[in-house]
Symmetry: C2
Subunit: 355 residues, 2 copies
Amino acid sequence: MYDSQKLEEFSKNIFKAIGCSEDDAALAAQVLISADLRGVDSHGVARLVGYVRLWEKDRVNPKPNIKVVHETPSTAVVDADKALGLVAAPKVMDIALEKAEKAGTCWISVRNSNHFGIAGYHAMKALEKDMIGIALTNASPLVAPTFSKERLLGTNPIAVAIPAGSQPPFVADLATTTAANGKLEILQRKNENAPQGWVQDKEGIGSTNASAVKEGGALLPLGGDRIRGSHKGYCLGAVVDIFSAVLSGAGYGPWAPPFVSFLPLAPDPVGEGLGHFFGAMRIDAFRPANEFKSHMDNWITRFRNATPTAGAEQVLIPGDPEREMEVKRKKEGIPLLPPVVKDLKMLGEKFKIEL
Amino acid sequence: MYDSQKLEEFSKNIFKAIGCSEDDAALAAQVLISADLRGVDSHGVARLVGYVRLWEKDRVNPKPNIKVVHETPSTAVVDADKALGLVAAPKVMDIALEKAEKAGTCWISVRNSNHFGIAGYHAMKALEKDMIGIALTNASPLVAPTFSKERLLGTNPIAVAIPAGSQPPFVADLATTTAANGKLEILQRKNENAPQGWVQDKEGIGSTNASAVKEGGALLPLGGDRIRGSHKGYCLGAVVDIFSAVLSGAGYGPWAPPFVSFLPLAPDPVGEGLGHFFGAMRIDAFRPANEFKSHMDNWITRFRNATPTAGAEQVLIPGDPEREMEVKRKKEGIPLLPPVVKDLKMLGEKFKIEL
């Protein structure tokens, strides 16, 4: 078990070592560790080495000039100047929250960015302002649309954070695929099969081979197959791609830059870097915040107290598992897999920073 | 086969017979028939008798005073005054388009409404203004969240319409469930089983009984079961419910008023009527519309030309099947099932209107 504060300090020092300012390094480390704390291990320190490799390939600018390049009262487009998405995303979300104070809502599409870590973190920034927060991003093309052999979309997550009153907030944070790549990696290590509906092989046929994506196959959109609505997951992933990248001028669809530095960028780019899309809606732009929050408490209580199915303890509210995990891991520490520890030690040696 | 214009005229006359103005009746009929034309038969004239029954129970006001009750530059809340959703939705979408002209975007939550028909129709109103249109609604509680025996949500659709240039627009319109109730009804008539992942029985166990929902079971969220991501479909349906009904002050979750008039309203209402949520985003609030549309053409062309899986003709773009169906049905007419024709004849006799 690794202490979250020590991991955060270590990560911050690594980000400083690649040239980030003190503040940017602290912000990036905070976003990264929040993924580990919330149990989204695939988006936490396990990715630190990946960000460093992108910097080594000159795909990350540690001293970016993140700027609004176009705006209206309720929108903006931001050029992130090749920033770490971990830095760009919370900064852009701050702009959205500020603009929403005046206009009621604000919607910002971001280009020229990189992987922004855990989507829920950015959406949740709205909560303290009594706003609803939304965070979307496109990602490395690993997903085949319904009827496609080719990978054309990323796991393109949707995060929505909604404040409540005495209840904890509602925080949905979901990839628009059946399962995330991280879950497949766990199965590979255990030498187990994947459930039907998670992946297809390189011929485009549904497969239970947990290594199918590595072998030229693809992740499947939420729904898994046509008869169970994979075209709906495809629609959602497509909307995330278009809002994040076509609206902003980033690389979209199969042109989205891959997270792994060993894969080449598309030779015929259609935009700059990765794209994100953020939204902030003031609750009181619709109805008084206290009134809304008391109804959210009622919503949450009613759903949580619904009769559960056999074997289930209770109906969960989006955000429940992550919040419970955060309490536990803040106290008990964060478990890291041996290959992740090995990567972190390698980074520590490279930059002369103690883990 | 029934001529779409004649069906539209008939529907308009029925709406006039229950007290709608000439304009409102024409609008409601147009929305209704657009569902039949686009192949969404469950939301077309098959529902006409249902709307009439809601009027008979005094749940539909044919002469509503639809009004904005609260607003900011980029938001509004509308009280639909028990209007037909078929009338309220396009009128509210017009308000959203007008407000978005100034603020860049506009987001309107609607309370005290009724079933609004085909979500895609309302989202598509944005296209002619070079805007992205979004339409959400909550609906009769027929869906069990993951781990719930109880039905707490509706099929809560998400529609997003995005303009393109020389290509037809991108129009996603999807229920947040694996399958719509209408598809189960077709299986029931054929005496066939439902695929796994569509429904659960009254004990909350996954079932292939196409009549499970009628027998106390429930529709399942997109994903179908926990291992294939039904919690993600549940999250999406919940967000639609909260945006449509908790933000506006409509009946949410299990308190959403049922479409069928024979089911009683919840005895302890938490809001008024059904809720909707509409969004309009000016493309040029982000980047020049022509630039965006040429990239949308590129997006659409790339996806449509992707290598298809064995047996599939090509990768479809959201909106393709409905657009092709519309061309076909405008020419060849609309096929109606015998029970639908029977209902329409009954309505014709009741109101002395020739079918």
